[in-house]
Amino acid sequence: MKNILEYLEHTAENHPDKIGFTDEQRDVTFFELMQNAQRIAGSLARIGCRKPVAVLIDRNVRCIEAMFAAVYAGNFYVVIDVHSPETRIHSILETLHPAAIITDNEWLPLAKKLAGASFAEMIILYEDAVLREINRDHLMRIRGQMIDTDPLYVLFTSGSSGMPKGTVLSHRSVISYTTWVSEQFEFGADTVFGSQTPLYFSMSVTDLFSTIKCGSTYHMIPKTYFTFPIKLVEFLNERKINTIYWVPSALAIVSNWNVFDFARPEHLQKILFAGEVMPVKHLNYWRRYLPDCLYANLFGPTETTDICSFYVVDRNFADSDSLPIGRACDNCDTFLLTEEGIRASRAGEEGEIVVRGSFLADGYYNEPEKTAAVFTQNPLNTAFPERIYRTGDLARLNEKGEFIYISRKDFQIKRMGYRIELGEIEAAAGSIEKVKSAAALYDADAGRILVIYEGSIKDTDEVLQQTADKVPPYMRPDEVIRIKQMPYNANGKIDRQRLLKEYCGA
């Protein structure tokens, strides 16, 4: 096994007529998906191999076909968020220098504008390319040259500086990760995913590749359903969705609206979440109504494919508790390094989460300095070259041997000599009844801690008081601001950068 296309081909052979993927307009079988990808691949023959191919298509089945087409042609894909600002797409394309852009009629005008007149020949139109004859000689020749450390995709994330950087992931990483996640959670041909995450977000890797490996079914849930939560539940029931892997903010929509008093999912069995801290208040709501489901808290950055540690919920937690991020995934070494970064943390001692193994990305595309800063030699090994990835996240081990997440390294602040965890303040505010979501910010210039919340409590002093009751005196927020709608970014997570800009002038 060295190429993820083997998953697709194996499944297309065993379940040719099974529906693999659906969007609002279309269903596609595994066989059709494979064929369409092979057809489109023909139009990429002229660009050569191991080149970046940008995919400028909205979140739908065509986008998935285009992604696999790039791989069939021996290249790697980069899914572009078509709804992000043009300046951001521009900055991504400047870093990437794609050899081709696959787009469809819907996004052709944007593709033309981005590529510019002199690069018009770079554009491949899905509707034309999908009608080509499959060139088997071309496909076989390419497959013979590919190795498992070849890049599969580059995924752009917004760094803390706001400049997007592209993480390069190989076939090897994705195969290693998919092997773990599909075995750990026993995904199979009877698994029906209800996918929330966009295809340019690392969490989408889990349901996408598990689906092609196991012959599962992957339904893309239209984004508007998260606005109309009753429809969301109806969709889950109509499609008989039994497995979801969502960001906590998406799960919180259901609990905030108390949806389960009006409609309940009938087929759900596995509920996985990652991408941000899961407030236990919301988890408890779900567990109260769906007590027989499996719940798992997954943790990891894009740089470890998707996940490096996980915790299957096996006991009860109070609303104000924090949920462990558990233990390392199989075939992925996750451990803690002390602040100096040279020694492993002792039990209970705080340290930076670092990761070793095949899940690791190769680095950042066209960014040697940023790569060298976080993909470093393992300081515990001086005998031979061995790479680790420093996540920038802090954790400690509890007495059960589970990782307890603390916060981002740069989320930890010092004020008057005290070390303050914004995450802890945030969790305290978020656990208050009638507070739907909360974010704690530090205004470094003014030295002030702010809590921003959305919820029906109008009196901000009440929220301040209740938060202060749950944290040490030195962590007491200086100001509490109520907003009507917490801003979320394209992935569905709380948009901290926007809050910082708005309330701290950062």
């Binding site: 984004k223 508007t224 998260f226 606005t227 109309f228 939560p229 009753i230 429809k231 609206w257 108390n258 949806v259 009006f262 959305e454 029906s456 109008k458 009507k484 709608q485 801003p487 979320y488």
Partner: protein, 77 residues
Amino acid sequence: MEELLQILRKVKPGVDFEGKTDLFESGVLDSMTIVMLAAEINDEFDIDIQVTDIVPENFNSAESILAMIRRHQEEDD
């Protein structure tokens, strides 16, 4: 109605809401603004919008939003 129009203008400035009957389908109101709008309406009209009210039909015109508010006010009386 004037109170509601004021809220609508605050949530989504620069849109003429009167006479429009496709606020959601045409994208004038998106997911974000509907949640914000619901919170504003709850505060201003002192009602408690339920998840069963959060359907596209209730948000496609100022009239339909107002009708939903009236239903709640009657229930509370």
